[in-house]
Symmetry: C2
Subunit: 281 residues, 2 copies
């Protein structure tokens, strides 16, 4: 496995693979890899001939008040993990390689980005779409792999690919969970032991909504308020809980079509997100 | 020469060329081709192995008040001209092929687009950068050719390519002029015979500034006011006349470094632009 830090090297090595007719897969990550990322890399290795894992903590998707500085960096472990899973290349550029001058060009996706996480993290998705466009242009993948845990991100990137005619497909892979149900996240390591126990409330709230819907409850407001009680009972501070259309991300009032139940909750000072899809067919 | 109207066909034919190791050139146009476009196509044919000319009157770069509906469409002549010059493919999609659903993803370049033409045509450059990103992603050129007449557009696209790491180079080709000096433009055909005669005032004003600078005048305000007099004398209605840095497009007060003298003028109801570079070295 090769470790690459410059854009020029990345272009060279994908050019060579492309010339050999290889199918290129990209797994864009911010490092601090866990089994959720692992599932993306495994799927990429299974489906592609040449797999690039990018490790880049992208400054433009963090607000000044957010956790850019303390975001976990675990390069040596990430390297060993990628190697074990069969990735071909790690692309780990420094911030100055990705942003050598002031970034004045932005890719923005309207409408889908002003709700859910976009409402509480202004500018976040502009940073995500812009860095993904850059990574796609540098590594020219046939397929890029994203996790369903970042459900809104997946919807936004999918739309960006369609609207800009980017020549790649996207695969969105299921959420990977800890044994107690907590969704894997690089930010879970911020949690104290007590917070770690309470953090499972996000999963419990989602499971409750799934069960209540299966029992026949169709009213979104009822489900949301019951989820709210579960979160508050675990002393979680709710950023949002919403039930939305899986494509437009617009709130829905009655559970009918497949919908996304999504929530963001602060456990102590750590913001966690989780979601599930309700499909009653 | 092939005529292609769908994105799928365009992808197929550039994929085949790329597999054969060909160098792909793209000349993005809105059709109504003239000798200025011709120079771009000739250069592309000279430098590349496979040349795509796109003909697409892009609705997203026109404001509702502008001339989208009456913009000249001369497809049969354009076709014959491209064929004569040796283009390999014309890509002429309908608006519904390029924008099959509401476009909510936009590529924007800040700062460079709020001046000169950007100030009088809000949204124009967002439409230009977005459609160019789409055309680049569809035709995956190694080189794209633009005309220096749209000087601001060239600066904006160059910056977009750098900021988004788009895998292509840009070539900017000199302005082609009519025998009396009027810059070639698809919009020249809107001019009445009287307006056509008066339209040469843009070129005269630029030549005047070039001569005055060569004689030693270094004061931008003086040059601008003398150019203004020349335009007004020909009953042109000035949108802007400015002298700016060739990269940042910021106004400059004294002619020192290479600078861009740019103007936009209404002759009757037709808006014309022209420019020259002053480099006193």
């Amino acid at each position: 496995m090769k470790i690459i830090t410059t854009i020029a090297e990345a272009r060279d090595c994908v050019r060579a693979s492309r010339r050999d007719g290889k199918r290129i897969g990209l797994v864009p990550t911010m490092g601090a890899l866990h089994a959720g990322h692992g599932a993306l890399i495994e799927r990429a290795v299974a489906e592609c001939d040449f797999v690039v894992v990018s490790l880049f903590v992208n400054p433009t998707q963090f607000a000044p008040t957010e956790d850019l500085a303390r975001y976990p960096r675990t390069f040596e472990q990430d390297k060993a993990y990628c190697e074990k899973l069969g990735a071909d290349v790690i692309f780990a550029p420094a911030a100055g390689e990705m942003y050598p001058q002031e970034q004045i060009t932005w890719v923005t996706v309207e409408k889908l980005t002003d709700k859910l996480c976009g409402a509480s993290r202004p500018g976040h998705f502009r940073g995500v779409t812009t860095v993904c466009a850059k990574l796609f242009n540098i590594t020219t993948p046939d397929v890029a792999y994203f996790g369903q845990k970042d459900a809104q991100q997946a919807v936004v990137i999918r739309r960006m690919i369609a609207d800009l005619n980017l020549p790649l497909e996207i695969r969105v892979c299921p959420i990977v969970r800890e044994p107690d149900g907590l969704a894997m996240s690089s930010r879970n390591r911020y949690l104290s032991p007590d917070e770690r126990q309470r953090a499972v409330c996000l999963h419990h709230a989602l499971e409750h909504s799934r069960q209540r819907a299966a029992e026949g409850c169709r009213d979104a407001a009822t489900l949301i308020s019951e989820m709210q009680a579960i979160i508050e009972n675990a002393r979680g501070r709710i950023d949002y809980i919403n039930i939305v259309d899986t494509e437009t991300l617009e709130s829905i009032a009655r559970i009918g079509q497949p919908c996304l139940v999504a929530l963001a909750v602060h456990i102590g000072s750590t913001r966690l997100i989780d979601n599930c899809i309700l499909d009653l067919k």
